[in-house]
Structures are given as C-alpha cells and as structure tokens.
C-alpha cells in the first residue's frame, strides 16, 4: 500500500447529493450500458424486424390486398408493441437482475428512497426503448413503403403515456419476482398479452379503454394514421390516457412495495 494520496485526504469535502445528482447517476449508468453493450439492443431490433418481416410478407401472401390496406394500423400497433415489450421486460428483468446482483438492497436503503430511483430507472428504460423502437419503425416504413404522420411531440406524448402503464405492470412483475424468484420467465410471457391490449375493441367495448395500452393504442392510430395532432384530441381522451398511465404506474409500484415488504417479512429479499 502506498501513502501517495495522503495529501488528497485534505481535499475531501463531501456534499450531499441532490435529486439532480441522482438523476444524472441513474441516467448516465443506463447510457453507458446502452453504448458499451449494444448487442442486446441490436439483437432486439433484429428480432423485431424479423417477426415483422414474417408478418408482412407472410400476411401478404395469405391475405393479399386486405393486409396492404390495413398496413398502417399494423405498423403503428407493432411499433407500440415493441415499445411496450421493451419497457416491460427491461423494468421487470432489471429488478430481477438487481436481486441477483445484491444491488437491489442498496437501492432500497438509499437515503433517496427506492421510489425516485425506480422512477428514474423507468424513465431511462423508456428513453432507451424509444430509440430502438424508432429504428424498428423507420425500417418498417421503408420495408412496406407506407407513409405515416410522424408528428414527434404527439407520438412521444401518447406513446410515452401508453407505455407508462406498462411500466406499472413491469414493477408489479418485478415485485412478484422478488417474492417468487423463479417466476420471472413466466411473467415475461405476459408481454404477448400486450398484443390483445393494443388491438382491444375500444369503440365497441368502451370499458377496455381502462386497460393498459388499449386507449393509447387507439389514440396513436389516430395520430400516426389520420394525422391528428396532440392539441386536436378531445381533452377527455387525453385526460383518460393520463389517468390510466398514472393509475397503472402507481398500482404497479404499490404491488412492488407490498411484495418487497412481504419478502422482508419472509426473509427472502435479496439473494445472498
């Protein structure tokens, strides 16, 4: 051991971290992992495009013009599905990974509290998912030669609120993973249920608007296919979208908290 840094001991002036520092740390960590280890993101994009290719070319062979007529809707739905799957799996898998790594406890005992850390992680996941899904969207438009209305503010707002509800589902799944560690893979199957939610008949069965993704999917179709701008939507529609997003996010987080508390009572929090 050397004593070369004895002088540096005089330089320590610890200052409390603010939420700004917390946000910077959490977002920067996500950025570093995304940039340094792009294989997962690239793999996800390739797999998404492969399945879309099978859907598009296979469907055209079977359904012919009928598929081509509804291709805009399929692209929008597929775009929202890739966003949802990315947000859901990254949050639920992230919590599972943190449990295995022994880092979840450090986030739970942080003086900031786990909620802000989890929220920031969720935001980081959404940003990352938007980047990869945007690439998938661009590729789908090129493959099919389709034209869509791409008003950025409208798309980001509606899609962002739509997958916020999925984040809530991700937290709930993560909480259940904390409690029952081997159930994570089964919960990943839920992401195929998002297809049903995205294609829910919100006009024929209005109550389905209360389900995650369903109402947002309908609004996104109007935005990207019909060209409806954010400010042209009925405020009630936007209000419902916000309410559903917040409701599922809060509900999912409460499930996570409840599961974590039960894990602490049972002594199964963490994996050490």
């Amino acid at each position: 051991m050397s004593n070369q840094t004895d002088a540096s001991e005089q330089l320590d002036d610890p200052r409390p971290a603010t939420y700004y520092h917390l946000a910077r740390a959490v977002l920067y960590r996500e950025f570093l992992i995304f940039v340094r280890y792009p294989a997962n993101a690239i793999g996800g994009i390739v797999v998404s495009l492969f399945f879309f290719g099978v859907l598009f070319y296979g469907g055209r062979m079977v359904a012919g013009q009928a598929l081509t007529d509804s291709i805009e809707g399929i692209i929008v739905g597929y775009f929202l599905w890739t966003l949802s799957v990315g947000a859901y799996s990254s949050v639920s898998n992230d919590i599972g990974s943190e449990v295995q790594w022994g880092t979840l406890e450090r986030h739970i005992t942080t003086p900031f509290g786990f909620a802000p850390v989890a929220l920031l992680k969720g935001v980081a996941k959404i940003v990352r998912t938007f980047l990869t899904s945007a690439i998938v969207l661009a590729a789908m438009i090129l493959i099919t030669g389709t034209t869509l209305q791409l008003e950025l503010l409208t798309i980001v707002t509606i899609a962002g609120l739509s997958i916020t509800s999925v984040l809530g589902l991700g937290f709930a799944a993560g909480g259940i993973t904390v409690l029952y560690k081997r159930i994570g893979n089964w919960l990943n199957l839920l992401q195929f249920g998002f297809i049903v939610l995205i294609s829910a008949p919100v006009f024929d069965a209005p109550w389905t608007r209360l389900l995650p993704l369903a109402h947002g999917s309908a609004l996104l179709q109007r935005a990207m296919v019909d060209g409806t701008r954010l400010w042209e939507f009925d405020p009630l529609d936007l209000g419902l979208l916000v309410a559903v997003a917040i409701g599922y996010l809060v509900g999912g987080y409460l499930v996570f908290q409840t599961a974590t508390r039960r894990a602490r009572r049972l002594g199964v929090l963490g994996d050490y």
């Binding site: 051991m1 050397s2 070369q4 840094t5 540096s8 001991e9 005089q10 330089l11 320590d12 002036d13 610890p14 200052r15 409390p16 971290a17 603010t18 939420y19 700004y20 520092h21 917390l22 910077r24 740390a25 960590r29 570093l32 992992i33 340094r36 280890y37 790594w101 022994g102 880092t103 406890e105 450090r106 986030h107 739970i108 005992t109 942080t110 003086p111 900031f112 509290g113 850390v117 508390r261 602490r264 009572r265 049972l266 002594g267 929090l269 963490g270 994996d271 050490y272």
Partner: protein
C-alpha cells in the same frame, strides 16, 4: 430489554416526516447525512435490543434470531461469529431492514429504524457475502461514483476519497477497467470500495476476504483497521475466517442457535479459553504410557507422527511438573515439548461445540 412486540405492521417503513431530507437554499430536496447528528451526539453507532425473528409457524417454526441485544460504539470493529445456521445472516438482514424482526428494536446512530428508515440508513452500507454488490458492466471508478450518489453524496465532492480508496486497495491501475474483466479477488475489493465510496459511517461486511489471496487479504485487513482508527468508521464484520476476526476486531459477538453466547473483547475471549495444554512428542510413548497418563491427566489428543507419538495434555503450573515426572518415571525421552496457545477457533468450538465451518485459523484456507 425492549418488550416491543409484533404489531403486524412494517416497523421500518418510511415515516413521512423523515428528518434526513430537507430543502436546500436553492429549493432542491437534499439528502442530508445523518452523520451530523452522529458526530454531535456521539450516540452509539448501533443498538440492537431484544431482536427476534421466527420463520414459519406452528411446529415447523424456526427461531432464527432469539432475543439478541448488543450495542456498538462508533469507531469500533465488531466481529460476528457463529456456525452455519446460527442466525448471523438473519441478524444482519434484520439490522439492515431486509428482514422485518418479529420483536425488538434497532437504532442506528440514535435513530430507531421504525421512525425513519431513510434517515437511519443514511450512513449505513453493506457488503453482502455471495452478492456482487456492484455493476460489473461499469468500470471500477464508475461504480464508486454511482454508489456514492446512491448513498446520498455528490460524487464530485469525494473524488479524493475515491482516489485514496483505489490506491489503498491497489485498484488505481484498474480504475477504468470494467469490473467484469477483473479477477474474483479484485471484484471483492471493488465491492468493498463501492461500499465505502459514499462515506458510510457504519458498514456491514459479510465474509469480506472471501476470494482474496493472502496478500490481498492482509491489505484489506490493514485498510479496515486504518479506516476504523483514522476515520472513525464503525465496522460490523461477519466471517468464518478466524484470522480476520482476531486481527481486525476489537470485540467479538458469538452466536449459536440464534442467541448470543459470548460478547467480549478478543483478548478476554482468549483468556477465557479452557485450553492450557502442552504438546509432547516422543518415540517412547506407548499404549501403556498413554493409559497411565489418562489416569491422572486429561489427554486432548494422541496421534502417530513419523514413527513417534504426539500427545496433547491439559496441564499447567504444578501439573506440568508432575507430568514431566511421570514421563521420566515411565522411561520416556521427550523429543519435543511446547505449550499450546488457545486461539479464537478454540474459543469458538468451546462456546458453540462446532467447528467454524471453513477450517482453522490459517490464512490461506478461505482465500
């Protein structure tokens, strides 16, 4: 003794008036270290009072921790020993809030964890055995900065501390290396560094030298002692490695079957060991001599070594002279004779009736 009983509610849930957060002058909500309070009041770093934890119910119930109480002063290094299943891990988890105790209270720097979990744990961090504790995809320095922030400290204000930690733990040249590319021992050191990166005042270390080579283990032990001596760090260390406990700790708590069976300084525990013995080696010790000695002395061990016999006999003072006389009368020529100093392993076995789990006090067996 605290007679708190389980209410069925989470006793460590965050209270809404958590004192560890305040509005700074610019309006930001700021995490405030509890160390300020700790430094001013000199509260004990940790008070565990009547903590009990039972898993299961009815006939299948297992009492993992049974009415455990102790106090740890600031700046001290306390070891936790116990055989597998003694309740050490459950106790540490209970203190850290990862397990909700059924009964009892835990105070960290004077704050009951039930009154303000965030505040109580603001100056606490832990390195848990068997867990990574950090992010392998980030570099060593990035981990330090991240976990300093998570601990409530602006990482830019403790770069000197991080440089010092890296230097003392011999990680400087690996500062910009991803942790995943380091050896197991190096990862262990990164884990410790990340725990200390935020300036925690109380750290829990579970098997801190696991995976380290002899030299790294020594380096880490020296650093722990220095941190306690010079920076007032309070360390609670659980290990099967008696050398670590004996070398680093001021005091040792021994658990068995969920209860504390000893709580004293290392020196006091060694003095209490009922193990004043001598080891005698001779080619003349046959079965007859052994039987004769057994009538007057307590033989602890008899073994054959290189065609000779080596016996361990409990004897001290006048008994020792008598033993030598008896051997001389039996015509035994003593080839070698030495006294056996008791070590912590002996104390541990005496208290718990079990081996420590990983072997003796030698340096290398757990590395």
């Amino acid at each position: 003794m605290n007679d708190t009983t389980s209410t069925g509610q989470d006793p460590t849930e965050q209270s809404t008036d958590d004192a560890s957060f305040r509005l700074s002058e610019n309006g930001d909500t700021t995490a405030v270290s509890a160390s300020t309070t700790a430094e001013v009041t000199s509260e004990p770093a940790l008070v565990v009072d009547g903590v009990s934890k039972r898993f299961g119910s009815g006939e299948d119930a297992v009492v993992a921790v049974d009415d455990v109480s102790f106090t740890i002063e600031q700046g001290s290094v306390v070891g936790l020993l116990g055989p597998n299943g003694a309740g050490k891990t459950t106790l540490i988890k209970s203190i850290l809030g990862m397990v909700l105790p059924d009964e009892g209270t835990v105070q960290v720097f004077g704050t009951d964890v039930r009154d303000g979990r965030r505040g109580a744990y603001a100056d606490v961090d832990a390195m848990l055995e068997g867990a990574r504790n950090d992010y392998w995809r980030l570099t060593v320095r990035e981990n330090l900065r991240y976990f300093a922030t998570i601990s409530g400290i602006d990482p830019d204000s403790v770069t000197a501390r991080h440089d010092r930690l890296l230097d003392r733990l011999e990680l400087t040249e690996y500062a910009d290396t991803a942790v995943r590319n380091l050896s197991r021992g190096m990862k262990q050191k990164v884990s410790l560094a990340s725990v200390l990166a935020g300036g925690a005042k109380l750290v829990f270390l579970d098997e801190p030298t696991l995976g380290l080579d002899v030299e790294s283990s020594r380096t880490l032990r020296e650093e722990l002692k220095r941190l306690a001596r010079e920076e007032g760090l309070t360390i609670f260390v659980s290990s099967h490695n008696m050398r670590v406990i004996e070398d680093v700790c001021d005091r040792v708590i021994v658990m068995s079957d969920g209860r504390v069976v000893a709580d004293d300084t290392v020196e006091a525990l060694l003095r209490s060991a009922d193990r004043n013995a001598v080891q005698i080696t001779s080619a003349d010790i046959d079965d007859g001599v052994v039987r004769a000695l057994e009538r007057e002395f307590k033989l602890l061990a008899v073994e054959a070594v290189d065609g000779r016999r080596r016996i361990e006999v409990r004897a001290s003072g006048d008994d020792l002279y008598l033993l030598v006389d008896r051997l001389r009368e039996a015509g035994v020529t003593i080839d070698g004779m030495r006294t056996i100093e008791p070590d912590l392993e002996d104390v541990f076995v005496g208290l718990t009736g079990k081996q420590s789990g990983l072997g003796g006090a030698g340096e290398g067996w757990s590395q």
